[in-house]
Amino acid sequence: MDEKLIEIRNLSKYFPGVVALKDVSFDIFKNTVHCIVGENGAGKSTLIKILTGALKRSEGKIKYNGKEYEPHSTRDAMNAGMSVLFQELNVVDQLTVGQNLTLGVEKSRFGFIRKSDKAAQSSEVLKSMDPSISLNEQVLYLSVAQKQVIEITKAITSDANVIVMDEPTAALSEEETERLFEIIKGLKEKNVTVIYITHRLSEIFQIGDYVTVFRDGQMIGTRSVSELSYCRDEVESCAELIKMMLGKVVVEHYVASTVDYNNEVLELTDVSNNKLHDISFALYRGEILGFYGLVGSGKTEIVRVVYGLDESEGSIEIQGKMVQVKDPRTAIVKGISMVPEERRTEGLFTKLSIRENIPIMNMKTVSRYGIASKKKERQIARKYIDEVHIIARDEDQEVALLSGGNQQKVVVSKCLNAESAILLLDEPTRGIDVGAKEEIHNIIRQLSSEGASIIVFSSELPEIINLCDRIILLYDGKIKSEIKNGEDIDTERIMHIVTGGKGDIGAD
């Protein structure tokens, strides 16, 4: 029963300026459900990409079924029996269930597709998992849960020994989740090993046999679930697990900002759209407000509404006046700027230099009548390189060549140059080394002391606790709780609330 299926030894993966995985070693046993947990940027997806052939490792070894395993492509990995269910479902909506099941493995003669026995096998498996799905239905009309079942069926009938599931319950209802768990338990009996990536700690205890915790690219520990202290929705701690995931939670670094509670700079009232429900909160001058919640809790959705990317019902007021923020340009004009989640693809112009990136949100600072002054651009770039400690050869260096932390500093400089009263930061230090993390945090504190009002959206609890004066907890698109930061902050209660436990705001 405890036979090793996959042995990972000293696995490392480097990208320019970033260590995504560092010296990871652990084993995955046959016919088990092995959970992998960690915050965003911890290295989970990098590991999976290496296992499934999408990325090549930089160092280390992987043994699969006793033999050395080094897939050169996703096809290689699939042929070896490794299959993946991503969050973005891999089914073709326009085809029928039957066609999807045989996609890629069609039997053909002279190019014409014939009915094969693979088809017979798949429909058997499908029926055993969810008899309500008919082969002739068009996939477009199925629910997310049913589409997942189709993918699982495909994996089984293609003789997969390993099915990797990436946050599979993110889009499922309670009932569908239960059904999925039944299916997963059944998979173990079909000689399939499941690698289950999740944020939701309670799930580990429902279906996991083992759990591996990642943090900052490193494997913190692997435990069998039975060893861990029990964690249920109601009362108890996932104490040991949380401690592993988050590292030390340091409260002593939090320094209260000087907040002017008489000066309300931003207020959202009953903001709703198809992902958010009745979001209401206020932001005060000089305050650092934090939003904490897991993937899918609504953090990004709130950012998008405030910054004018998504529509919503409800009202947004800036300095007491109702505003319609219809696009980012309007937001910037009204005094809101944003540091986006993905700095490379959303925050920067990687082919351009530092000097050309920084003024883009506010070209007025370097140009007159639409004509830009290179001299002013250099001055401004040098000013921020100095203030924010950007490590680069000079202001003409191409931004793509900077490290992650320095790239993020360029993005922050862009916003600083926009001279906004309100700054939104979406996962501001994700994937950034500890040193640069602290520098960016100091910049944020500095800004708030100068009167700016800041909202930090993060899935890293230590970051939220180190920075924010007030913390709003989100779950499933709703605000569950609002906490003032201080000495006696209860991190376990916070984790409990953001994983679906009872909060103290609104109906559950």
Binding site: P328, R329, T345, G347, L352, I360, M363, A372, E398
Partner: protein
């Protein structure tokens, strides 16, 4: 000096070097090359490509393309002939024709940015529409082409010279300089690079993407309209069949000059050198009596080789 600045310089240096090599080779191969008359010919051929290419460079830097310019050239040219024959004095007709080109550009810009149709498809449609309109207008005048009844000064724009240099060449030089200025020194130029380099970042940085794109398309339209007036003026009649393949001559010049098809990099200066390279190669092939069909094949080859060399340079330095 940073690598990037160095790399851009190297790129420009390389294409200028290629141009010089081609000129040297051709002057060795045939005595007819290094003559005033020949150079005059080449420049006249190439000047229209450079005129439209100035605006197209900026458009392609922003990640968009305009396949309709050959047809718009024909359409505006025919309109100029028609208008100056029936309605307006030549000067005014030139003015309105340019505006008409601008209107076409405006429509392209609106379709691409507001209707969210990719520029390839949008301008492909415009290409057929403009070509059709060109034939319709010519037909409305009576014959296949508008050849008679044109005002006496119709050919001035296309044929006049200022000393030894044709008038329209001087105009083209002036406009190229203006666009080099726009590309290097204005916010508009910066926005083009930014939109082409990373459109999502541009939107999130508050760049008015729609306004910029529409402006760039309008510029292309205006300059194409201008090309139309110059060409029909040079020919002396409104011919709807002109400009076939013009868009590709321009695109080849722009890409040869260092502009990526995907946008985010390139320059107007590069386009100028690119246009000269293509012009001289075509000219050389003519002088060496190479058949026209081979020339077309050659142009295609130049394009592919240019892109490969560009990639090689990038990989070596990046």
């Amino acid at each position: 000096m940073t690598i990037r600045r160095f790399r851009i310089d190297v790129q420009k240096l390389v294409i200028v070097g290629v141009l010089i090599i081609i000129m040297v080779v051709l002057s060795i191969l045939t005595p007819k090359f290094l003559t005033y008359l020949n150079f005059n010919n080449v420049v006249m051929q190439v000047s229209l490509v450079m005129l439209a290419g100035s605006a197209v460079s900026l458009l392609m830097i922003s990640g968009n393309i305009d396949l309709s310019i050959g047809s718009v050239l024909a359409f505006t040219g025919v309109m100029h002939a028609y208008m100056s024959k029936h309605w307006f004095p030549t000067g005014l007709s030139i003015f309105f024709t340019i505006l008409l080109g601008g209107v076409f550009g405006l429509v392209n810009g609106l379709v691409v940015s507001k209707l969210k149709i990719t520029s390839v498809i949008a301008t492909l449609g415009a290409m057929y529409i403009a070509r059709g309109l060109a034939f319709i207008i010519a037909r409305a005048d009576g014959g296949a082409n508008i050849t008679s009844g044109l005002p006496g000064n119709f050919e001035v724009l296309g044929r006049a010279t200022v000393g030894p240099i044709p008038l329209h060449v001087l105009i083209v030089i002036a406009i190229v300089i203006v666009f080099i200025f726009i590309q290097t020194k204005t916010n508009l130029g910066r926005y083009a690079y930014v939109i082409g380099g990373n459109r999502v970042s541009a939107i999130l940085s508050g760049v008015r993407v729609d306004a910029v794109l529409i402006t760039l398309f309008v510029f292309v339209g205006l300059l194409t309209g201008f090309c139309g007036t110059i060409l029909v003026s040079r020919i002396g009649s409104g011919v709807p069949r002109i400009g076939l393949g013009f868009e590709f001559d321009v695109i080849v010049a722009v890409v040869l000059g260092g502009t990526s098809i995907y946008g985010g990099e390139g320059s107007v200066f590069g386009m100028v050198i690119g246009a000269l390279i293509v012009g001289f190669v075509a000219n050389g092939l003519n002088l060496l009596d190479v058949q026209a069909f081979y020339q077309v094949v050659f142009k295609g080859l130049i394009l592919v080789v240019a892109i490969l060399i560009d990639r090689l340079i990038k990989e070596k330095l990046g």
